[in-house]
Structures are given as C-alpha cells and as structure tokens.
Amino acid sequence: MSTQSYFPVPPGVGMEENFLSLDDILLSHERLPVRTECSFPRLGFLERSSDAHDIPEGTKMELPLWLSKGLYERKRKVLSVDLPKVYKEGWRTVFTADPCVVDLHKMGPYYYGLGSQILHFDSPENSDIAQALLQTFIGRFRRTMDSSQNAYNEDTSALVERLDSLEKALFRSGQNGLNSFQSWEKGQASQLTASSLVLNYRKRKLADVQT
C-alpha cells in the first residue's frame, strides 16, 4: 500500500454541488434537453441548426446543466427543462425491474449525480425520480461492495466498466481497504515503499524518451 498525499476536492453530497470539485464541474457539464420560454436576442449563433440572429421562443435545444440551473427560475419562466430519457418513466421501470443488468457507465457516467441535480427543476415526477435513484443504488450496492471486497489480485476492469462514477469511487476505496489489509497480513505494512507519484512520473519520462 502506498500513502497518498494528494487529496482532490470531494464531490458534493446529494443535491449540493461542491464549487471546487473537478468531478462536480464535469457532472454539471452534462447536457439536458430544454425548451426556451422566451427569446434570447443576439445569441442565435449558439444554436447551430439555424442562422437566425436570435434564439426564438420555443426552441428545443440542449444546454449544459450549469446553464440550465443558472437560467431556471420558478417565478419567471425562461426555460423549461425536459428529463433526459434515462430518468423517464420507461427507463425507470427497467431500473426497478433489475438494477444490476444496466450499464450505468453508458447511461451516465454520472447517473446518480445528474439525477439528484435534476431535482432542482420542479417537475411533477421528482419524487418518483428520487425514489428510483435510491432503489437503483440499493439494488446495486451489495454487488459492488461484495466484488470490491473479494476480488484480490484480479482483473476488475470488466466489473468496473459498468459502474457509475459514484459506485466506481466506492469500489476503489473498497479495493484499497482490501489491499492494505492483505499487505498487513503478510507483514508488508511496515515496509517503506516508493511514492506512487514518483514512480508514475518516472514511467512517463520513460515513455517520453521512447517516442
């Protein structure tokens, strides 16, 4: 086990975003389908499909989450946000039927994060979405935890491939725990090791020389 001294800013929990977290910034770049409820003069160039000078009212377009969140207001409708299809009724039934079979990396990779963020927009389906997110997580968690605690010295790429980014982080910390426990059992915990950061740097330097 190596001790790490770089701790990135953790992503926010639940509906909160952490301002400085790189993960949350990437998450809030996910696009949402929206419909404009008023016109945006002089910004026609943002909509690639038309050459108009303005974005007219009623345009359907995709905007990143951060922009939708910034423009969305309850009182004065500037835009209405539609649900991405993985959070709609049809997909929700798929998730509740068997959460373990879906590939959340393909659906997301920020399935839970984006799902919780969508709750900011007042949609009548909000409580159903929240429930579906929770049930999906509960349904998949046991499997993720089991495999992270038992796959020792194995190729886990096939397992990890289908996990959401939140589950991936959980899986990784489970594996770290397993690995440090194993190295403690073998009496290697007190061995001093080179910093993994230094080793990775050297690898890259070697790669630079080769190319």
Binding site: P8, I25, L67, S190, L197
Partner: protein, 196 residues
Amino acid sequence: MFCEKAMEMIRELHRMSDGQLPAFNEDGLRQVLQEMEALYEQNQADVNEAKSFGRSDLIPSIKLRHCCLLRNQRCITAYLYDRLLRIRALRWEYGSVLPANVRFHMSAEEVQWFGQYKKSLASFMRSLGEGEGLDITQDIKPPKSLYIQVRCLKDHGEFEIEDGTVILLKKNSQHFLPRWKCEQLIRQGVLEHVVS
C-alpha cells in the same frame, strides 16, 4: 458554445487523477480570460441599451452571458486550486527540492507559492518538540527498528551518515543504514527497503 476552453482545462487535470502535475496551461488560461472579457463587454453594452431604451427583452441574453462568466470563473478557480493541492502533495512526496522536470510544469506564481509553503511548513516543524524541532514528514509509518536494510536501485553517488562515514550508493549494493536517513530516498525510488 461558451466555456468550452475552461472545460478542456478541467478535463486535462481530471485525466491525471493520481496527482501528477501537468504543464501549466497558460495559453488556455489566457483564452478563457479573453472570452470572459468579451462576454463582459457585450453584457455591458446590452445593459446600457436595455436601460436607456427600455428593452427588457434583452435581459434573458444578459443573464445567459452572466452565467457563462460565473461558470468560467468557477472552472478557473477550481483549476488553480486543484493544482495547488497537487503541488502541496509534491512537498510531501519528493521533499523540499523538486526534480527539474516537475518544476518545469509550474508557473512562476506556483513556484513562489511552493517556496512559501515550504517555509511555513519548516517553521511549524521547528516550533515543535520543545524547541528542538520535529520533522513530521518522517516516520509516517511507525518504525520498528532504528536501522534498516536497503538496496540501491540506481547510482546515487556518495552519502554521508551521522557518524561521518561516507557510503557510496552504487546500483545493486546493499547497506544497513539509519532509517531516518534513508526514508526520503526510499520515497524517491533511489533505495528499496528490504524486508527479510
């Protein structure tokens, strides 16, 4: 779309999730600042027009641009802050002197920040242990013995230990050395700790 460049910078950092420090993207930073300046000027012009001609239909566009400004600000702050976290980690992994290829990736301000961090860490460590000072970067794993067996992984040259003996650290040679003397060299990958 606005803010694409700033996102690119964030992705660049995110790809190296193990804490390596990529080269400081000065060009990217300048481009983002230029974009922000353009956004600000457009907004200023539209605000003036909205005020003097009573064109309230411009307000949604102004708000959109304002969101982009804030977004760019957030991305840049996060970029710089995350780099500082990485640079702070380097102090603990490499010790107070950084190898040239790492220092090469830092901007002038970051080098300055690293120097200040080094100083405040050093003066904190000096203040510990009833005036004697304590190196808190040592013994992160509790030591079992004062001396340890080490093997050299590469030629490092001469090395003096506390009683004045000079040892030649040659590749593949083994030595029995005081632990506190070689801990940093092990972390840097010069020596390897041999556990029998």
